[in-house]
């Protein structure tokens, strides 16, 4: 009950009270009152509305108490008290809007990206500061400080508690989707640490994605949820029992989660049909082609190259180009892929990206150019930060013939 309802009630209290900290305090007071009164008087007909109005009365009390020390709070308390009558029975739709308001406020571009992530996990997902700190391998005091600063900034810079207007929605939705995807990738491929995946964060991101799709059925929201589900479906196959990385080609496809794949594929099809899709949908479409191949050798590389072409045309990036080169290598042979990667590296964009060197090494190995493969694996190893990836590269390096 607490986890399911507390975030909805909090979202509404923030709107009514206009202050994150006051709303959180009111939320705790309201739940404390519920624990005391519900067993005695019975559960009210609309528990959520009861919690909202109780929280609000508690906040007015708090402000009154503080007003004895700070006269400027008297007026705020009075205003809240006067308008208290309106909010006793909040409508369902309005409450859902409040959750969307909360998401857009937490992901406001005026906040630093890491603050957006921390605030979203704290306020929207209801994770504790300690849980978030552990997930991101930072100290709890640092994280708490980051959240406090973000809340202060929301108040001081007047970041409004509102869903953006239709004109602003695409740009603002981008930053929300980026936050959700950041949470997911931090769970799926942590940037540091001994373990290759942190399941809890990925699950939280997927839950967020579902909530967002519920509230805002835009095609890119579908695309992002599909992308996360399709990646997540391979989780069990992606690491060996000893914690080592298993490449897509070598994964045991019977370990893939069929329900997540089916859901992901359906979402991709819906998003593509909308004709207003963006980068997340395209990446999900590529993941769907992999997911639908019964074996690595049966992958439809031609289709994958086509999706990368569209992605590269609309959202050009060196990383997309690298992935496209790898797909071309699968379709037309390693020599064609190597030519593309060498041209890319010659431009200097990806010189420090370990996967570019690893991909080059792999193609050279397949072409029998052992000395080139060795040099590229060694360079990739210098640049790779994650222990399981380093183990993988070292293994590949040792497997090369002399």
């Amino acid at each position: 009950m607490y986890r399911a309802e507390s975030r909805r009630v909090l979202a509404t209290l923030i709107r009514l009270l206009g202050d994150f900290d006051l709303a959180e305090e009111a939320l705790h007071d309201a739940f404390a009152a519920a624990v005391e009164q519900w067993p005695r008087d019975g559960v009210p007909a609309n528990p959520r509305a009861w919690l909202v109005s109780t929280g609000r009365f508690k906040a007015v009390d708090t402000l009154r108490r503080r007003a004895r020390f700070d006269a400027s709070l008297v007026k705020i308390a009075e205003d809240l008290d006067l308008s208290a009558g309106d909010a006793v029975g909040p409508e369902h739709g309005e409450l859902e809007d409040d959750r969307l308001r909360l998401i857009f406020t937490c992901c406001h571009p005026a906040l630093a990206p890491e603050a957006q992530v921390a605030l979203t996990l704290r306020e929207v997902c209801g994770l504790t500061t300690e849980e978030i700190a552990r997930a991101f391998l930072t100290g709890a005091p640092t994280l708490a400080q980051r959240i406090v600063r973000a809340k202060r900034k929301i108040r001081d810079a007047r970041i409004p508690y509102r869903v953006p207007s239709k004109d602003d929605l695409p740009a603002r939705l981008d930053s929300v989707l980026r936050v959700v995807y950041l949470v997911f990738t931090e769970g799926y491929a942590p940037s540091a640490g001994p373990s290759l995946v942190r399941a809890d964060l990925s699950a939280e991101a997927i839950r967020l994605g579902r909530l967002l799709l519920d509230l805002l059925p835009e095609s890119e929201v579908m695309g992002l949820l599909a992308l996360m589900l399709l990646h997540e479906s391979r989780r069990a196959a992606r690491t060996s029992p000893s914690g080592d990385l298993v490449l897509l080609d070598d994964q045991d496809r019977s370990l893939w989660n069929r329900d997540q794949i089916a859901e992901g594929v359906t979402l991709v099809e819906r998003a593509l049909a909308s004709r207003r899709f963006g980068p997340y949908t395209l990446q999900a479409a590529i993941a769907a082609v992999h997911a639908e191949a019964p074996a690595a050798s049966a992958t439809d590389w031609g289709r994958i190259v086509v999706f990368y072409d569209v992605l590269q045309a609309q959202y050009p990036s060196p990383v997309v180009e690298l992935n496209r080169a790898a797909a071309v290598a699968m379709r037309d042979g390693p020599a064609a892929g190597l030519a593309l990667i060498d041209a890319l590296l010659a431009r200097g964009d990806l010189g420090d990206y370990h996967l570019a060197h690893a991909a080059r090494a792999d193609l050279c190995r397949r072409l029998g150019r052992t000395a080139d493969a060795r040099a590229s694996y060694a360079r990739a190893l210098e640049l790779a930060g994650q222990e399981p990836e380093r183990r993988f590269l070292r293994r590949r390096l040792n497997e090369l013939p002399d």
Binding site: P109, A110, L111, A112, D156, A157, R158, I159, P160, D168
Partner: protein, 85 residues
């Protein structure tokens, strides 16, 4: 010769003078708005002007800034200003 002075200080509450909050930078490229926390940090960009605007909240301030023609060429740094009472 004229010089413009943008006064910076680590002191959060200077007292008596207007107090500016943290920066947000807005750019328009190919019809897409990008807004990011932090000051306009491109060292190749020069200060081209200072405009004081009135807005209901930060979203409106971003909208106003994004419609300035300069947002399409360079970048516009927004800071909330609290005036002394």
């Amino acid at each position: 010769m004229k010089y413009v002075c943008l006064i910076y200080n680590k002191e959060k509450d200077p007292g008596g003078t207007a107090r500016g909050g943290e920066a947000l930078t807005v750019r328009m490229r190919n019809g897409r708005l990008s807004a990011a926390a932090g000051p306009a940090a491109d060292p190749d960009e020069r200060l081209h002007g200072v405009i004081l605007i009135q807005a209901r909240d930060l979203n409106e301030a971003i909208r106003v800034a994004s419609r300035m023609p300069e947002a399409r060429l360079g970048s516009i740094e927004i800071r909330p200003v609290e005036e002394p009472e």
